[in-house]
Each structure stands twice: as C-alpha cells, then as structure tokens.
C-alpha cells in the first residue's frame, strides 16, 4: 500500500472487494448476471449503472443495500444485510471517488484451469542434471523464481523417509545401510504388504473410514464388518489395482461385477455413509464426500441454493442425488457363517429403483418440489463426456442371495440340527417319563461317586481344559480371560462328569465393560444353544448371582433363580454350585444364595467363561455330588415342562415342528431355484411355489401346535400361538382353493440382511429377493469420474499423493478445485503427473515410483546450506528447493514404537480389533469410530471420521505426556534398549548411544549430542533412588530412560 494514501482512505482490494465478493458476486458476477449486472470491477459497476464515483447518494449500489426489505440487497433469502460499518465503508469509498485499480473481469467458469482437459505438458529442456521429469519441471520454476535447491539428505535419512512414506515402518539398521540402487529399494518397498497397509490408512482418511457406531446394539452409522472394505483398500493398493477401477468398485462394484464379492467389497465406501435416522443426511454425506474426494468439487455448497462460487446449480445437486437415490445397504452372507453378528459383507445395491428425487426447496427436506421430479445426472458444466445411463441386469446370486448354494445348505443344516436336537430332547423326556432318575444306569459316561477333578491353574492343562477363543492366559497361578467380549470364548472341561456334581471355584472378576459376568455352564450342547448355567455379574445397577438356562439359543433368567448381591470387580469370590437332577444350589463365600429347580437337564459340557468381563480363575474343583449332601429345595414351582408326561408331548410336538420346518426349507429352496435360477415351465414353477407355500404354512401350524402346549401356562403366548395357527389354517384353505395356474406367494429364503432404512422398520418388513435390475446410475457416475476426459479426477488424486510425500500439496485446497482454487504454481507438474498417472493405467505404484525417484524427494530438509536469497524469496518452500519435514501421523508413531520394540504383530487383514495398550497389531486394524478410538492415537491427531482430507499436524503438550508416560512408550523404550544391547558387542555407553541414534533417528550423533547423552548417563547413575541397584540393573534402567528420551526427540516423530 502506498504511503501516500491517507489513513482513512478506503482500500478497494482489501476492504471493498472482499465485501462485494461475499455479498454480491454470486448473483452479479461471472456465475450469474441478475438484471444483467456484474460488480467484479469498477468499470463493470459503472457500466452497469450501479456506481457513480464520488456520489454515494447517486449510486444504485448503495441505495439497494440500504433499501427496505423487499428491495434490499442481498435479498433476505440469499444473505444477511450489510452491517452499518460495512455500509459506511462503502459510502466512504464511493465518496472518495471509488478508487480501484484497473482489473480484468474474471474469465468464464468454463475457462477455469482445473476444468481444462489434462494434457501432458512438454518437458522443459534438460538443464543437465535434471533428467527426471519431476526435477526438470521443478527446476524450470526455480530458475524463474530465482531460488536454488539444497543438496540431498544423508543416505540413511532418506532411507528412513522412504520407509516411513512407503510402508509406514522404520527401517532396520541393516536396511539403513542398504547400498543397492535407490530404484531397487523403492521397488522392494512397493512390493511389500506393509505398503498397502500404510497407504490404505491415507485413503481411509480421505474416504472417511469408520467402524460402525450407534447406541447399544442399534447401528446408527456405518456398518458392522465394514473392515471388509478396509481390507479391500489394502489389497487393491497392494495389487496395484488401477485407481479408475478402485473408484468404480467403490461407487458401483455391485453393478460392475455383480457376482464378485472382491469387487463388491469396494462399495463399503458407500455403506460407510449409512445413517439410520435420516436418509437425506445419509445422501448428503455421500454427495458431499464423493464430490470432495474424487472430484475436488464442493457440491455440498449447492444443496440449499446454487453454488456461490462455482458453476454448480442446486439442480445439479439433486440430479447428483438422484444417482444415489435407489441405493440401500445390506450385509451379504459369507460362506460358512450364518450369523450376521459374526460376519457379513457390507455392500450397497439398488433397492428402491423407482423412488423419485425432488429438489428440496431451500434445502428443506420437508419442502420437496414434487411438481418437478429430477432426472439423474452429473453436473452440467462437465457433463459432455458422460455416458447414457444403462440399466444392469443382475444374476440371481446378486438379487436373490438366498439362492446361493452355501446359503441354502446352511439353511438345511440348521433345520436338520434342530430336528436332531428335538429328537434328543424327546429321548430325554421319555427317559424321565419312565421314571428313571436322570439316566439309564451306565449311559452316563461317569458313574463314579469318587469322581473328582481339581486344577490350581498353575500351568496349562490341555487334558483338563480346552481353551476356545482368544484371550486365555496362564499367569501368576491363575487362568486369566484377558479379553472382555461377548464372543463365545470359554474354557471347556475335557473329562466327562457325572450327572449330579458340584463345582467349587475361587475367582476374581478383574474388569470388563457392561455386564462383567463370570459364567459357569453345564449341560452345554456342542452348538452352545442348550445349556444350564450359573453366573455372577458385577454390573453396577444390578449386581447379582443368577441361575439361568438357554434353550434353542434363547436365554431365560428366572427371578426365582436370582439373588441381588453387590459383586465387585477386583474381589475374590468362592462360588460353589451343587446340581442334583434339576435342583441347583449356589453358595457364595459359603452362604447359600440361590436354590432353583431347572426345567430340564441334558447331556453336555461344563465350561467357564466371562461375558463382558476379564476374569482370573484361581482354582477349581469339580466332583461328583455325594448322595449324602443335603441340598435346599427350590423355592420355585416346577417349570411347565416338568410334568414328565406333558414333557414328552411337548417334545414330540417340537420334533414335529422341526420336521415340518425342515420340509418347508427344502420346498422353499426348490421353489426359489425354480423362480430365480433355473427356468422350468411356468406350470412346474407354480407347482413348486405352491408346495413351498403349503409347507411353510404347515410348518407355521406345527410350530403353533408346539407352542400352544409348551406355553400353555402363559395366556399371552398361548393366544399368540392360537392366532398364529388359525391365520395359517385360513391361508392354507385359500391356497388349496386358488386357481391352479396362480403363482402362490411364499417367503423366499433370506440370504442377506438389509440395513434398516429408518428405525421404525423391522428387518422382516423387507423382501428376501431384491430388484433384479440395477439402475446403472452409479456405474454411469463411476465411468464419468474415471473417464480420461474428466479434468478433475487424476489431478485431485495425484495432488493427494504428492502432499503425502512432500508434506505440502500442489493445490492447497485438496478437496476444492473449484473457482476459488487459484491455478497452482506447479500446474504443469500437476498435469504431467496426472497425465502419467492415467497413462500408466491409473497405477499408484507407478506414481509413487515417479515421485520418490526424483532428486526433489531426496533433498535435505535443512535450510542450513540454503543461500540467503532463496530463504528470503521463498521461506515457505513453494518451489520445493528443500524437503519439508513432516510430523508422523498418529498411526506411524504407534506402529514405529511397536516395530522398533519388536512387538508389532504382523498379522494382516481381518476384523477390527479393540484399541488399547494390549493391542499389538498395526494401527490400521484398530477400531476407529466415534465411540472407539485408541487413546494414544488421538494424541497425535488421529483422523477425524467425519472429514479428513488432510491430517492436522498439531504440536501439543499431551504428545509429550503420551511419549513420556504411556505404558506403550515406556515398555517399548525398554524393549528397544535391550534389543540394542543384545546386538552390541561391547558394554560401552558410547557404543550404545551411537547405535541408539542410528536405530531411532537414523543418523550418527554429533559429538555434542554424544556428550549430552554421556552426561545424562552420568547424572542418572548418581540418582539416589538408583543407588541400591546393582551395576547391571542400573545400566538397564539408564539405557531404557535414554532410549525413551530419544523417542521423545523431535526428530523421532518428525520425518526429516
């Protein structure tokens, strides 16, 4: 600003233009010219009749911004009125003659640099050393900008940089001394599985990876098992799947390859946006982040009104929405898994194919413009290379997942096992009726009154216990269950035991989440669906001891079997359980707490487990119950099924019901296959459908018959069973009366589980068979995004990759390549990389190789040798005359600590695991949702699940505390120290110090650093509290503390 301008002179560029830009340009500028008026330059304002320099009162501009409501600019619906100070400012500016520099009006939006086709620029003449195209392009700019690059970094330092950038793990000292050609090291790293894990996390930031979360068991956001999508990302990167293919699979894998679960897993990208409560919010997220992530377009700014800065109309927004309107989310079955709680593939599919899309007036979903349904399409400004939308015919596997053979087989198996189980129950009931106490003599594997098993849990005893599931550990003379989950991990007693027995167990609930229960099961069936059990729960609102039982997988917790007792975490308890026939007595610390009569017994196992609890079992004795033991009679009335005659009737009905259900499954499968897979004659298909309908109704009736007797005591259940029966009988009659050529309705086998569209729905509301034609809208979108003619896709992607290697992007606003993004300094480099990227088949590995083999990538990050001129001209390194230091992302900090400490679990892929200090897998595998994030990771700017196109790199005191005080850092410091010492040939502190620097900071220490560390060693050895230690012990402590200090060094968490 010229010194000649008086202080109260208004400056157009800093004071007026920003104001007009904010308030006026969107309607009176290059995007729109309401009333033919543009206000972007002084001449335009004068020519348009809005401005009369020197005469505020004669300027329409001022008149309109101060006018009454109807006339006021901006109109109320487009923005707030100008503040009085702002009006005064404009007044003064006009009065002062409306001084403004000559400016050319902005060009038409179609001229915007980022909207121009990507062409490979001609490389500048080689200036000698710059043979690499990236260097040649950068060098040309540097010459023009009059800056000079610094030299390369030390080899070990750039090897560290390369390892951290490409695989996210630090190199070993051997790797630091790798003398092979650079390109060879690069190729080796790109070929490693860890590369995919490292870069998957970057893309998980951009694509907003989040594990599911909600309230209790209600899924509100994302989906269960969304980790399949994470694994898809890791694998796609490791396989170097083209980015075009990746984008296509994420948006439309189901349309692109309808029977290929490996491609469909990509649609986890869309499934992640699932939101139970509000479809518009769900789609808004999908639209916003599809725009930002792939296109660098802020489509979201056009939701309520036309975009204020970019040529995107509100209609464009809703046409874009229409592309996604039909899709819904479901879990597809994984072969071998029948329980969607355990596993399932989250994916999308076109469901509501005819649902119209309307513009929401002013963005209000309660106010749709129903007169004018919107057709699907891409933003008009870039629509000329969009392909027409072609519907996709789906195969039966895709639209009728119940016809997949593994689903059919699983259904048959389940029905068969229910028949088997019913048969066993019937046999047991008949035995009881025959008044044989519990068993026919000799049928029990054990009939020995002296039978007894004791275990002090001092060491593993596989002959006694089969440990099922994770988390079991023997230590400190106890068997620990260290994982608090609801999974079915258990310690199952191997030797068979007598029917009447007692258990004495001493144990401690050491922790856990909600219920904190310790469970002692008996009579447990192989599939776990039948068992009788006793448990203690330390759940704060209602701690208790409870006798319970599971039948057919459903648990019953009778009030008569319960005693409220303040069970506490951390307290040792002695539980004794005695079982004689159906009578159970329970003592806690020698006090009788419950006497309860079970409805029935069966053969089965004894097992110990935790439910939401970690437990330490100290000792246990299981032995035959002495006939002399006096038990207390149960307070409860015999359960309804205890009348032995009745029990046989019930069991017979149950078996009949199970048999009917099995027949119904077979008939359903036959009908489904006829309807969707094979193409039999219509008559045959009809007849099979009729058979399925009939068998289903018969199964319903058989089930009602069973329940009418089994639940006879419960009037409510009885009525429901009766209603069920009469409704089914009525339908059955109608079915028999119907025209023989009518296709009767029956319920197809359900293969997948659709995510609820809203909380009022139930899963059973949804049909088992979906639309057989997908609209093809998303596939068209994917083709348009990945078209070589799309000017944005490749530019946006290479900008992300460049930023993660160089620390700064070529285009600063990584998710906004719209009109507000100025043409970048390195536009040619961006275009060169984008063109090469597409040319290479959208290969990320090609792009990485291109970038990291440049000289620019290998430069030093120090300014020490830079010349004064360069530093002054370009202090922020826009010209890439040196490398930028980067702060490690949180995942790198944690993974590096574990890796250097030798504790990193190299297991890849699979379900996300609980975060916390005991997790040893790479951070990419830790649960990451609103409700679950690793505490250590959050200290170092973990990815925001809502939006994370660029990680923050904060420097905060909590990071210092985490690296100084966390168990992870303290433990790993000791591990690293002892590893180094084990490998060293000498005990000399100086050797340790040298090696420590080399391993952790990947360079030799300077002399000054050596002497600081030596002084530390000296000072530590004099600490009074360490004087009692012997020399070796003392040195161990010193080495650990020294190691931890170097882990806290700035250059450990920094990629230099």
């Amino acid at each position: 600003m010229s010194a000649a301008i008086a202080v109260d002179d208004v400056d157009y560029l800093t004071q007026i233009k920003p104001l007009l830009s904010e308030k006026c340009y969107s309607c009176h500028g290059v995007l729109k010219q309401e009333s033919g008026l543009r206000l972007e330059t002084r001449s335009l304002m004068i020519d348009g009749g809005a401005l009369n320099p020197g005469d505020p009162d004669g300027s329409e501009l001022l008149a309109r911004i101060t006018a009454d409501e109807d006339e006021r600019m901006p109109p109320a619906e487009d923005g707030a009125a100008l503040q009085p100070e702002q009006i005064k400012l404009l007044h003064r500016w006009i009065q002062q003659g409306a001084r403004a520099p000559e400016e050319t009006p902005p060009p038409a939006p179609t001229e915007h640099w980022a909207f121009q086709p990507i062409t490979r620029p001609t490389l500048p003449e080689s200036s000698g050393q710059a043979d690499h195209p990236v260097d040649a392009l950068l060098a040309a700019k540097r010459v023009a900008g009059n800056v000079r690059p610094v030299g390369p970094a030390d080899r070990s330092m750039i090897i560290r940089r390369l390892y951290l950038d490409l695989i996210g793990l630090p190199p070993t000292t051997e790797q630091l001394r790798d003398e092979r050609p650079w390109e060879q090291i690069v190729d080796d790293l790109l070929a490693r599985t860890e590369h995919g894990e490292r870069w998957a996390r970057h893309w998980m930031d951009v694509w907003r990876y989040s594990d599911w979360y909600g309230l209790g068991q209600q899924i509100r956001y994302s989906q269960k098992h969304i980790w399949h999508w994470r694994d898809w990302i890791v694998r796609s990167l490791n396989d170097d799947k083209g980015y075009d293919r990746m984008v296509s699979e994420m948006l439309a894998g189901d349309e692109l390859a309808p029977t290929d679960p490996d491609a469909i897993a990509g649609t986890g990208y869309l499934a992640r946006n699932y939101y139970l409560f509000n479809r518009t919010t769900w789609l808004d997220s999908t639209i916003e982040h599809t725009g930002k992530a792939f296109l660098g377009l802020t489509l979201n700014c056009a939701k309520c009104h036309d975009h204020k800065y970019d040529p995107i109309s509100q209609l464009d927004y809703y046409r874009f929405r229409a592309l996604f309107e039909p899709h819904q989310v479901r879990l597809d079955p994984i072969p071998g898994v029948t329980d969607f709680e355990k596993d399932g593939l989250p994916r999308v599919f076109d469901d509501s194919v005819d649902r119209p899309t309307f513009v929401h007036l002013r963005g209000d979903p309660m106010n749709p413009d129903k007169e004018n349904p919107v057709s699907p399409g891409v933003p008009a400004i870039l629509a000329d290379f969009a392909a027409p939308i072609q519907p996709v015919q789906l195969p039966p596997d895709a639209f009728a997942p119940g016809t997949r053979s593994h689903v059919q087989q699983a259904a048959i198996q389940k029905a068969e096992s229910q028949v088997e189980s019913a048969k066993r129950e019937l046999a047991a009931a008949k035995r009881r009726l025959a008044d044989q106490p519990a068993e026919e003599p000799g049928t029990r594997p054990v009939d020995d009154p002296s039978w007894s098993v004791t275990d002090l849990f001092d060491e593993p005893a596989p002959e006694l216990w089969r440990l099922i599931g994770d988390g079991w550990q023997y230590r400190d003379g106890a068997l620990h269950q260290t994982k608090s989950t609801r999974q079915s991990q258990m310690a199952r007693l191997v030797p068979p035991l007598p029917r009447d027995f007692e258990v004495d167990c001493v144990y401690t609930t050491t922790g856990g989440s909600t219920y904190k229960s310790v469970t002692f099961r008996f009579d447990q069936s192989e599939d776990g669906k039948y068992s009788n059990y006793v448990y203690t729960s330390a759940h704060a609102p209602g701690p208790k001891v409870q006798v319970a039982y599971a039948r057919g997988g459903d648990s019953t917790y009778p009030a008569e079997g319960r005693k409220a007792i303040p069970i506490k975490v951390g307290q040792r308890y002695h539980l004794r359980v005695a079982v004689r026939d159906r009578l159970v007595n329970v003592w806690l610390d020698d006090q009788l707490v419950v006497a309860y009569q079970l409805p029935d017994r069966s053969d089965g196992f004894v097992s110990l487990s935790g439910f939401d609890a970690t437990v330490a079992f100290d000792e246990i004795t299981v032995k035959a119950l002495s006939p002399d033991s006096e038990l207390t009679a149960a307070g409860n009335q015999a359960a309804p099924s205890v009348d032995p005659e009745n029990a046989v009737i019930v069991a017979e009905l149950k078996l009949a019901s199970a048999n009917a259900a099995l027949e119904s499954v077979h008939a359903t499968i036959a009908a489904d296959n006829a309807a969707y897979v094979a193409s039999p004659s219509p008559a045959e298909a009809n007849s099979l459908a009729r058979d399925a309908a009939r068998k289903q109704l018969q199964a319903t009736i058989a089930d009602a018959d069973y329940r009418m007797i089994a639940d006879a005591a419960d009037s409510k259940k009885l009525k429901s069973a009766k209603d069920q029966k009469s409704a089914a009988e009525k339908k059955l009659k109608e079915l028999e009366k119907a025209q023989p050529d009518a296709r009767p309705d029956y319920a197809s086998l359900r293969g997948s589980k659709k995510a609820l569209e809203t909380p009022e729905h139930k899963e059973s509301d949804y049909p088992a068979v979906y639309a057989s034609v997908s609209t093809g809208r998303r596939l068209t979108l994917a083709k348009w995004i990945t078209s070589r003619q799309n000017p944005l896709t490749a530019r946006v992607a290479v900008n992300h990759v460049w930023m993660r290697h160089f620390g700064t992007p070529l285009v600063e606003s990584v998710f906004d390549f719209g009109l507000r993004a100025e043409k970048p300094l390195h536009a040619e480099l961006l275009d060169f990389l984008a063109a090469e990227f597409m040319e290479s088949g959208w290969s990320f590995k090609y792009l990485h190789r291109m970038i990291v083999t440049s000289e620019a990538y290998r430069m030093s990050s120090s300014t020490l040798t830079a010349d004064e001129q360069t530093r002054t001209v370009d202090p922020t390194n826009r010209y890439y005359w040196r490398a930028n230091s980067k702060r490690m992302e949180s995942q790198l900090v944690r993974d590096s600590l574990l890796s250097l400490g030798g504790k990193l679990d190299p297991k890849t892929e699979g379900p996300s695991i609980d975060p916390g200090p005991t997790a040893m897998r790479r951070s990419v595998y830790l649960k990451h949702s609103r409700d679950q994030q690793d505490k250590f990771l959050t200290m170092f700017d973990d990815a925001d699940i809502l939006q994370c196109y660029r990680r923050s790199e904060s420097i905060v005191p909590q990071q210092a505390l985490a690296l100084s005080n966390s168990k992870l850092a303290i433990d790993m410091a000791s591990q690293i120290a002892s590893r180094i010492v084990a490998d060293l040939k000498t005990d000399a502190p100086s050797d340790f110090i040298d090696e420590l620097f080399f391993q952790l900071l990947c360079r030799e220490p300077t002399d000054a650093e050596r002497s600081e560390c030596a002084a530390f060693w000296e000072a530590m050895s004099k600490l009074p509290e360490l004087q009692s230690r012997d020399a070796a012990d003392l040195e161990t402590v010193i080495r650990s503390r020294l190691t931890q200090a170097i882990l806290n060094h700035n250059d450990f968490v920094t990629i230099r």
Binding site: P18, S21, A80, L215, F277, N278, T281, C301, T758, P759, E760, E812, S813, D816, R820, E822, S861, T863, L864, T876, S885, T938, M939, D944, L946, S952, E953, S954, I955, V956, P957, Q958, A960, L961, S964, N965, S966, I970, D971, T1006, A1008, E1009, E1012, C1013, F1016, A1019, M1020, L1023, P1024, E1025, V1037, R1041, L1042, Q1044, A1045, N1048, H1049, N1050, T1054, R1056
Partner: protein
C-alpha cells in the same frame, strides 16, 4: 502445523509461530484476502476472563425450575385445546422444529396438561420466582440473570450438540462455544490447558472440529493422582529420572535446532515439552483441595453425599478459573440421553437431580462473589431444552424445544433480572425469544470478542451461528 494444546487454544506461542497451516488451509486462498487468524487479543475491553459452563444433560423442566407456571395446576388434566391457550399448538408456531428421528417415541406433542410437581416462591429483593427444588439458587437469585425465553430446533437430545455449537444434529458438526472462546482468546496461564471438560460428555466428543483438535476440551477427572490422560508414568519411572529425561530431550532438541534453523515446528515442540513438564505438576495441584477451608468445602456441599461429586467439580472449576483457565465445561447427568430426561417419574428424579446441583452451584456463585471473582467469571447454567406442559407416561414430561430457561451469572451481567418469558403454560418463548447462539454471543461479548470476527475461511458460518448479544442483561 498447529501449535498449542489439545484444549490449549491459542497459546502465545501459537500466535507467534502460526503459519499458513491448518487454519488457513482448505479453500482459503482467495475467499477473503483480509482474513488473518486471531492474535489472542480481545477485540474490545472485556468484562469477563473466564467462563464456567454448567450443562444439565437430558432437559430440565423449565416450569419446575426457573419459570413456574401456576396455570398448569389450574388446568391440570384438561387437554391444551380445552384451555384458553389452544393456539399454542397452531402448526405455524411449531414448524421450526427439525425432526431427526421420524416417529420417535419421544419428542411428541403432549396435550394433557400436567400440573406443577413442586411449589415455588419468590426469592431475594428481586422477588423472582424459583421452584422449591432449587432453594439455594433461589437464595442467590439477586446475582442471577434468569432467561426464560430460550428456544431451539431439535426435539431430541441432539439438542445438546446444538446448544454447544448452534447447529442442528442434521447439520455438519462445527466448533462449540468453548472452542471458539479459546480460538479467539490468548491464554492467561501457560501451564494449564485452557479448555477443560468434566462430567459425562454428550455424544459428540469433539469441540474443535474444523478449528482442529487443539481446540478440543481436555477431559479431566477430579483425581489428583490421575487427572488427565498420561498425567503420570504408567510404568516404573521416578520423578528424578523423568526430570533428567525431559532435560536431555530439551538439550538435544536445541542441538538439532542448530542443524535445522528456521524450523518453527521444532521450536514449538521444544516449547510443548516445557509446557508438558510444568503441566504434570500444575494440573494435579489445582485439583487438590487441602488449601481450601472447611467452610468453603461446605459451601460446595462436600458434607453431603448427594452434593459432593458435583461440588468437587465446581470447586475445581473455581480453582481453574482462578488460575486463568478460559473455559471450564461441566456436564451433569449421565446416561446416553442424560439423567434429566424425565419422560416419567419426573417428581422423584428431578427433585433428586436438583438436590445434587442446587447447593453446589449456589455455593460456586457465593464463593466467586466472596473472592471478588464473580465480576470476571461468567457462569452459565443451561440444558438442551425444556419439558412439555403436557404429561407423558402419566407422571413425566416430554422434550420441549419451543421454550425453556437458562441461568447466567457474573461476568458483567445483571443480577436479579428475569429476561424474556414463555406464555402462561410455558409452551412458547413469546417475549424476547432467544435462539441458543444468543447465549454464545452474550458470553463472547463479555469476553471482549465479536462473534462475527470468529470465522475461518472455507467454513461458512450462517447469520444464526453468530447469535445476538442479549443486551438487556448486560450491566
């Protein structure tokens, strides 16, 4: 780069070392060339230095707390349509609400008038009516500004997010008021986090959002041994060893600075280690009450089992405010929805919860006053919405976003004043209605900040986000 702390807001070093990094990053290049990040200096002379923000999760019944409505008792059992106030249910007047969960069991109109479940009386010289569940707050009513005309637009507990951020659950997440305060103001004490959170947090766990994690509150427990994450070594490391370790790190980092001159991140990290080391001792010291007199502790209700937990948090809050901490945010009422959510058993539960907070909050205000701190400390006592004049489940009230009350005290606000009013049955805020961000604007104003000057390029704030200063309650 973003220097500062999780909850450290704009430290002096933040302003010193801030470059064009995070705050200016997305889409900022040309939108507003005149913009620059705040320098930590208030925009104009402030009245208050700190805010103690108390938030009752679940929804406190305004009629049974600070806005008693005898008409409810008079018309008890009648439908609202049978009373003279039938027009409150005019659909036009109800349309501002944005429903998150369509057809949810809660958040519905409740038409059968439910009588007041507690008596009330006039308190103080101002004679402001307060319910009998809050006798201690009643006793200091002459220090309170009672705002009886709040409204919001979420009829479910997303309103907790809305009360803190000004945005509805269906909108994008934006910074909360505590984050903005720390974004706008410099620190007064470099040894302590400037934005502290205590008590059961609502379901949006973040405050900073696009301002960055440095503006998230630091979660704190009233436990001197373990007040915040990683406050002390989770392993066998003595204080002496740690001091030597920190010292070595500092020396080595300074040596590295010679190799990497002009490296602001390195300078910031050196500073952050100094801060961390001081914070380790400074934070636990604030949480120790051994220097407090028995009389003070009693004031906060330490002598009663029901009042002690909240009392401890409030005494901690005062001690942090004393140390210059800018924003202390305390939530009361746990559970997913918040304990004050009395769809049923309103009398039993509200009376119990009121007892837990009434004495401690009154004690806080008295204590601040007797120490001469009330003038510069602004206390807010708020909740996400009120409860319906009509009954739910025979003995409860439903969510009510159309009219509810908050209290403010100190920080240059008038005491003994009622501002705004709901209609006779407490349905709509009819006199001086205030959207939730008006509370934000008012406290920002008292802290010397223009809410309109708190923004970051690339993140559009709507007019409603800024709110309006409630001028009538300013001294």
């Amino acid at each position: 780069m973003l220097c500062g702390g999780l909850g450290f807001g704009s430290l002096a070093l933040n302003a010193m070392l801030r470059r064009d990094g995070y705050a200016a990053a997305p889409g900022s290049s040309s939108a507003s060339p005149a913009w620059s990040p705040p320098d930590g200096v208030p925009h104009f002379a402030p009245k208050a230095k700190s805010v103690i923000w108390l938030f009752m999760r679940g929804g406190v019944s305004h009629m049974e707390s600070f806005d008693p409505k005898p008409a409810l008792t008079k018309y008890a059992g009648k439908t609202i349509n049978e009373t003279p106030f039938a027009d409150v249910q005019d659909p036009e007047k109800l349309k501002r609400v944005r429903v998150v969960v369509v057809n949810d069991a809660n958040g519905q109109q409740r038409n059968k008038v439910y009588p007041l479940q507690v008596g009330y009386r006039k308190y103080g010289q101002s004679g402001i009516e307060i319910s009998d569940w809050f006798p201690h707050l009643g006793a200091c009513v002459d220090d309170l500004a009672v705002i009886r005309s709040m409204w919001t637009t979420d009829d479910n507990h997303g309103a907790q997010v809305q009360f803190h951020s000004g945005r509805h659950m269906l909108d994008p997440r934006v910074p909360t008021i505590g984050a903005w305060v720390n974004y706008g103001l410099g620190t007064l004490n470099e040894n302590l986090p400037q934005f502290i959170g205590m008590g059961p947090r609502f379901f949006d766990k973040r405050d900073g959002h696009y301002l960055g994690p440095a503006y998230d509150s630091v979660a704190l427990k009233v436990d001197p041994n373990n007040p915040l994450d990683y406050a002390s070594p989770e392993g066998d490391v003595s204080a002496g060893q740690q001091r030597l370790g920190f010292d070595l790190v500092r020396r080595l980092n300074h040596l590295t600075a010679e190799q990497y001159p002009h490296d602001p991140e390195l300078e910031a990290r050196i500073k952050s280690y100094e801060l961390a080391y001081r914070m380790q001792t400074a934070v636990p010291e604030v949480i120790r009450f051994d220097t407090e007199t028995e009389a003070t502790k009693k004031l906060y209700g330490f002598d009663q089992e029901e009042t002690r937990p909240f009392g401890e948090q409030l005494l901690t809050a005062r001690r942090f405010a004393e140390q210059g901490v800018r924003f202390i945010q305390i939530m009361h009422g746990d559970g997913a929805a918040g304990a004050w959510d009395q769809h049923s058993k309103l009398k039993a539960n509200h009376s119990k919860l009121a007892m837990q907070v009434d004495r401690p909050v009154a004690g806080l205000i008295q204590d601040l006053k007797q120490r001469g701190m009330l003038d510069e400390t602004l206390v807010v006592f708020a909740t996400e919405f009120g409860r319906t004049p009509g009954s739910q489940n025979s003995d409860g009230r439903d969510h009510h976003p159309y009219g509810f009350s908050v209290l403010m005290a100190g920080g240059g606000l008038k005491g003994g004043i009622v501002h705004g009013a709901t209609d006779e049955i407490g349905f709509h805020a009819v006199e001086h209605p205030h959207y939730v961000t008006d509370v934000h604007a008012t406290l920002l104003h008292q802290l010397g900040l223009h809410s309109h000057r708190l923004n970051v390029p690339g993140h559009k704030r709507l007019e409603q986000d800024y709110g309006h200063v409630i001028k009538e309650i300013l001294v």
